[in-house]
Amino acid sequence: MKFAVIVFPGSNCDVDMYHAIADELREDVEYVWHDVESLDEFDAILLPGGFSYGDYLRSGAIARFSNVMKAIKKAADEGKPILGVCNGFQILLEAGLLPGAMRRNHTLTFICRPVKLRVENNETMFTSQYERGEIITIPIAHGEGNYYCDEHTLQQLIANNQIVFRYEGENPNGSLQNIAGIVNEKGNVLGMMPHPERAVHDLLGGADGLKMFQSIVTYWRDAHVVTT
């Protein structure tokens, strides 16, 4: 299976993402600069965290007009797994691939620490290796992770089981309904503020994020690899 890690000017979690796939998951992975036209050769697309274009105007607002976004939209339409973490999530929101928007954290501070998440939906291609209701520990690192959407959108997210992760216990950023991660209606585009790629080995403080990447591989193998 071949992963793409999209690199924008200002991405800074691209190396962690690459490490998680290459060294822990042991699958093929390549860095892809934001101006490429095609992502056809890749099976899954990862949008890493960071501060693309310095977060100018709004987080993700400029990155969404990058050349590569057309290819990402195409991959989304084709049903390929697309995972946006932190700034990657913000870009997916700005691009309209996921509904809603991010506000400043209600504390007005940048928060960088491990948090507890509840797996609300384990029937996605990103979470099949978790138990439903499982509590996992994944680090967050953001100043704008205060998820917001209007009431109508929220009802849709709930009805379609699109809320994949919620903060468990304390909500660090004030997000609506403790939302930490959502998936699109089709189920192949996931955005989340916590960083699973920073939790892939006990040496990093925990490995709860690894199952997310293993879920993607499991999904892909089931769909594409014929066993005899």
């Binding site: 105007l57 709004r58 007009f65 929101l93 506000r103 400043r104 007005l108 917001y148 209007d150």
Partner: protein, 84 residues
Amino acid sequence: MYKVKVYVTLRENVLDPQGNAVKGALHSLSYHEVQDVRIGKFMELTVEKSDRDIDALVKDMCEKLLANTVIEDYRYEIEEVVVQ
């Protein structure tokens, strides 16, 4: 040539944590009259005249990029200026 002033603010029903913090600070300076503070962005654009309608052009820019209409409102003023 046009000078365009674009104002972007959080929508009224969206909590503005920055505005709330500033309101608290104003209150601590004993400006108790302050009921609400909303913080936004101000952008000044210099736009060349073309065959495209300036009003439609600016509205388009706001919708597509300058504001995120999920959480933000925008308004703008267009002023025609004579180049010296």
